[in-house]
Symmetry: C2
Subunit: 392 residues, 2 copies
């Protein structure tokens, strides 16, 4: 899989006319560059450079103690070791490659392409100070976005498997959502299933699953509380697993029926219908070349036009080896999203669609689906929630 990704990186370098992509890291157990996941797959201790060139060379410069584990990956043809002086080995490699531009993992906008720390950046500048190389550094954000975003068929299959397991767990937990239990109870039931399946949660397990019940429930990203599920609550769960290195991220909504109710009251039905329609409108609009903010605006405007406050986040993010997989984003043109909402959508990207709206007096309605972009539009990877789930 990583070999496939390195091959893809070489193609992207050619396409972008960049001769060298440099990933520069140290002590990666403590402070890792998200790109290591794609092109190294193990950790290193001392300062280490992983260099991929447009003509297909793969060079690793690592401390002597890290040599074996990099060799064991089989990913780098040319492994050079040093004991005391990284800089000398590094400059020697640059002299051989003679790059015109050196892409490094730094980005104001995309955290996935921003693994180079400022201290390491200063080290790079120090090493290259006496040479012309110090003027050649550019951001690798375009390379990283393409490499991470364009999922190979094998990657799509792995994401599907991850979604499948998440949906199975949802199906099993659904009958156990009952008035009288707490948010924490439901989270514990789900986490037990996660352990039984021998997988990890898609994000840290104190907020995965996130469970929110009733009108006083917290905003997203909060941990499950002792709040008790009660009849008349809208309850939603945000959950995913990481299976074979790939994540899923799905939200579902339930209504807890009162004794005398067979269906949810009108405001809940209306709110949920508006929510589903906003998903459908966004889904229909997605196609390669569209910009992220255009898709977000469609769902956002529809929700606001129907009298609900707009959601305080983006409509969707990419999913892959990480739950939040960086780069292009279906989101509003807010300062905090930088340029990520202005990137054209690309074939092979996997996005969530996850609007949200509050239903006054009942709780928050959310769904989160996952789609993959295809040449003429997009396709659901999840089985979309098409009606409110009921329980008592």
């Amino acid at each position: 899989m990583l070999k496939e990704k390195i091959g893809q990186a070489v193609e992207i370098l050619k396409e972008r006319k960049i001769d060298l992509w440099l990933t520069f890291v140290r002590e990666t157990e403590t402070i890792s560059d998200p790109c290591l996941d794609l092109i190294v797959g193990t950790n290193c201790t001392w300062q280490s450079a992983f260099m991929i060139t447009a003509d297909g060379r793969t060079i690793a410069i690592v401390g002597s103690l890290d040599k074996e584990r990099i060799q064991q990956t089989g990913l780098y043809e040319d492994i050079r070791i040093y004991v005391d002086d990284f800089g000398a080995a590094f400059l020697k490699a640059l002299d051989e490659i003679k790059p015109k531009r050196i892409a490094i993992n730094t980005s104001v906008n995309d955290y996935m392409a921003d693994g180079l720390t400022h201290g390491m950046y200063e080290l790079l500048i120090n090493y290259t100070k006496p040479t012309q190389y110090q003027n050649l550094f550019i951001s690798a954000e375009k390379i990283v976005a393409a490499l991470r975003g364009r999922k190979s068929p094998m990657e799509i299959e792995l994401i599907k498997k991850s979604i499948e397991l998440t949906e199975k767990i949802y199906a099993n937990v659904s009958p156990q959502i009952k008035a009288g239990r707490t948010e924490k109870d439901i989270a514990d039931i789900i986490l037990k299933m996660v352990v039984e399946h021998g997988v990890e949660t898609a994000w840290e397990s104190n907020s995965c699953p996130a469970v929110f019940t009733g009108p006083l429930s917290a905003g997203a990203h909060a941990d499950p509380t002792e709040r008790v599920i009660q009849p008349g609550h809208v309850l939603n769960i945000d959950f995913g697993v990481k299976l074979n290195g790939y994540c899923s991220d799905i939200q579902r909504t339930w209504y807890i029926l009162k004794d005398d109710e067979q269906v949810a009251p009108d405001p809940v039905q209306k709110g949920f219908a508006v929510l589903l329609e906003s998903v459908r409108l966004a889904f229909e609009a997605i196609r390669p070349g569209k910009l992220g903010w255009e898709i977000d605006k469609i769902a956002r405007d529809y929700i606001v036009a129907n009298g609900y406050p707009e959601y305080q986040h983006g409509l969707g993010h990419q999913v892959g080896r990480s739950t939040h997989d960086g780069a292009g984003m279906l989101g509003p043109r807010w300062e905090r999203y930088g340029d990520t909402v202005f990137l054209p959508l690309e074939v092979g990207q996997v996005y969530t669609i996850e609007p949200r709206l509050p239903i006054e007096g009942y709780g928050v309605a959310t769904v989160e689906e996952m789609v993959v972009i295809r040449p003429n539009g997009c396709k659901y990877l999840s089985h979309p929630q098409s009606r409110l789930f009921y329980t008592r």
Copy 2:
């Protein structure tokens, strides 16, 4: 524990006459700042600032969706949220604090103080460009080194518990080290015990434990292989656990007796004796105020004087919440260690002592002990290996 650490940070800011320490992060599940472990203890998604001032104020500026989880930590008195524009909220806070210097997590030398990415650094510069603040940034490395290095009595107790469990696991695995088993077999036995105790390994489990047997064994940091343990091998293991958030890191060495042997042959005995003596000499020399390289040199010189090649790494590193806990280091004056070997040792720091030497034809001898620095010297936290362990 984190509350204690934040209190300690305020004291260090006063001592260093720095009015503001700023930790600036985003998407910390994917790309984390090692300082979060000490002063936040949870993750955040959007750009987030954690500000601690010398006069004891604690301010967090976080995205609206992250508010609840930061509140749940109870660590920040003043939590400010934003939806679209981080910069405005950030500048407003600076205007209130009116700092003369702003310490940020960037360091050429110490990766533990280098959690700010270069992209985030550029964002900081962009936000503060119209103001005088952009000239006030300094490295927080002295703050981080003191905060991480000076262990409180409670932290020392937790490290001791972690060591205790590691030593217990070593005692249990020792009788199972037998000729005919492979490095991987031994690693699996240890990992099973780790799971049984419900803890994590101190570093990633494919090289924790690291197991090396015989004269052809790999260097440190490589993963256990299918290499078979044979009579006449020197075998060593590098292993530790993370218990309640604190790590241990211990190495032990065995000799596999041949059928007709009751003790190891002379070269093995001599090598191991030289190794132990180098540990003792370093241990005796450690006291507050000494520099890391001075301690390393004592062990290194002794080993070389006895005819062995010098070890290709530092004599010891700090241990705490991470196995490699950053800042001061007992190491040689090599370029790659930067200034970390020139820092004076401080009371409360926990170091490993881990020399290594090859015994030609038999394998590599190592021990790794852990010590805490006290006002008049240092004290073992581990129970030092005082003789070669035998097995068949």
